[in-house]
Symmetry: C2
């Protein structure tokens, strides 16, 4: 029996997470869910972001399902660093997984790209690089101020995420991995990434590989997103590229993500990429598809690929059947997805 | 009389630069141009990328007009770092200027954005950040390898480029500056950028300001590029964002750029964003518009705003008059632009 921790969070978080749980229950009966109250509301009530005791309890779960945390009333960074990034680092979630599809039935912003043509996944490193928090400043607030940010990259950290990307590519049809970095400027980290990529690629002769500078990849994601299958990149480049990929596939409204510790030594976390959308919260108007797709990633990671695939098929059916501009009822969508996925 | 150094470079560089010079000569009669042979061809012939003596000679000019350098036969990074980045740093070209317009008569990849609606300029810092070359590695080639890259940011460097962005915004109709950074993760550098931005903004109450994280900006450049006027950002973010901006406005084929030392203590350099395109080189097929627009930026910087505006108007007329898919003759385009700009 899988034990999952549920952090519904703020704004539309509880609404969309309720649908994701409904769909999980419809396809995998023996999931035990425990709710944790974290996010802006708790922060305002108690001043706490992530108490050590809660972190320790979360660690006892197989996975975490998160809705959305955040509210304009919380100072920027408090929840992002105190909660999301803390969990990624504490739980060694080194694979930050972000699939992007332009689903049949939806329209993206690109005139020349047809629904169904884009199906890519970004494997973003999640525990190193410029997210390490290694920086500082001197003479702060004076004309002599300097501020530094250091990108830390280890062979250990780079190799394991590249291995994960190749393993994912081998389970896909196209079997292609694109390494994205900026080796012509970031020569030290770039060389480590490029050499490690070459070493791992040599063990996977069945996988096609290519390299692109991050600026070129950002451009091609706009002009030819169809060309990508699996992309692997560092933490900050991945942050940017996944938002571009989401944008060209119809926005973050449909985008799911996982922060994964593949070995299962710690719980992995799954969440829609969208935020808490306080403007529409509590009105049953939020689209739960991204949360439901995140639940599918969760089940896949917990060793239930078949139910996960049924959820994905339910989403595909839902999106192709949507009348453009028709009003969205969060609960109704959840009901339809659950019914379809249950078969 | 202005003295400009011309680095035609490789591939289509000489062809497009010839048109840019033709157009300059048509609008400002007293420009004296001296050619410098730099790029892949010279590198192969002599092993030299940028001899000190050439650097010293270039320094004696008012500006540099560059076509394109590079060829697949040159190891990656040699010309980028040895020539382009060396010039940016040696000549303190701290304003890396990249305008993006979706010109009437052209089509971009975004279905919902109409020609004429996008007119933005990215003011990218050019001499600091992760481009400083401050990084290293330990235990290279072993499982224990670590590699670092350090972003160096000074109040001096940040303030001067933000001031330039506000000065440019004040000369534009919309008068809006968007700061792009990643303050929620890069807290030290982000704080320096944000505080400096606030200080400079306070001196410009007539300019509207906003802040966006780089991932959000990357997304909005795809979904709503119309919302931007002037963007100011650091060296690496600027590298990525300008390629997205170029992509959504029809690709790097039409994009111009300037690496500017606004005080004129050193020469500024102007170049099309596109590369040397060896596949079509020497056949008179390259579109010289990006090179010609770079020449307009050059003239503007050298204190000739009126001739610069006439070149821009010539480009606008050229693009609106182009029949879709009609063959392009480099020389013919140059002739038309020169004639139109000459008035
Ligand atoms: C909220 C922020 C810290 C986070 C990141 O930068 O990773 C977010 O942008 C994301 O992509 O999950
Ligand atoms: C060639 C490379 C070093 C350069 C950069 O990264 O600045 C290029 O991408 C650019 O944008 O001018």
């Amino acid at each position: 029996m899988a034990r999952i921790a549920v952090v519904a969070g703020d704004g539309i978080g509880p609404e969309v997470v309720a649908q994701a749980r409904k769909v999980i229950d419809a396809v995998v009966p023996d999931v035990q869910a425990t709710e944790y109250d974290l996010g802006a509301a708790r922060y305002h009530r108690t001043g706490e972001v992530l108490p050590d005791s809660v972190l320790a309890e979360l660690a006892e779960h197989d996975a975490i399902l998160l809705g959305a945390v955040g509210d304009p009333s919380v100072p920027p960074g408090v929840l992002e660093r105190g909660l999301l990034l803390t969990l990624r680092f504490a739980f060694d979630q080194y694979v930050n997984l972000r699939p992007s599809r332009l689903w049949p039935g939806t329209t993206g912003p690109l005139g020349g790209v047809k629904p169904g043509e884009v199906d890519l996944v970004v494997v973003r490193e999640g525990t190193e690089g410029l997210y390490a928090g290694a920086g500082g400043s001197l003479h702060r607030g004076t004309p002599a101020e300097i501020a530094t940010e250091e990108s830390l990259n280890t062979r250990h950290g780079v190799e394991r995420v590249i291995r994960d990307a190749f393993a994912r590519a081998e389970r896909r049809e196209e079997r292609k991995v694109t390494l994205v970095h900026k080796t012509n400027v970031l020569t030290h980290a770039g060389s480590l990434w490029a050499r490690t990529f070459a070493d791992v690629a040599a063990e996977h002769p069945d996988v096609t590989t290519e390299y692109q500078h991050v600026d070129a990849a950002a451009m091609f994601l706009v002009t030819q997103p169809q060309r990508y299958d699996v992309l692997v990149t560092d933490n900050l480049f991945g942050d940017i590229l996944t938002d571009i990929a989401a944008a060209v596939t119809g926005g973050i409204g449909l985008a799911a993500s996982g922060s994964i510790n593949p070995e299962g030594a710690y719980p992995s976390m799954f969440e829609p990429v969208h935020g808490s959308a306080p403007d529409i919260a509590g009105r049953g108007l939020a689209d739960p598809v991204a949360a439901v797709l995140s639940a599918a990633l969760l089940l896949d990671q917990l060793g239930h690929p078949e139910p996960a695939a049924r959820i994905t098929a339910a989403v595909a059916a839902e999106l192709i059947g949507r009348a453009p501009g028709a009003p969205m009822r969060t609960e109704d969508v959840g009901d339809r997805l659950a019914a379809y996925a249950a078969g």
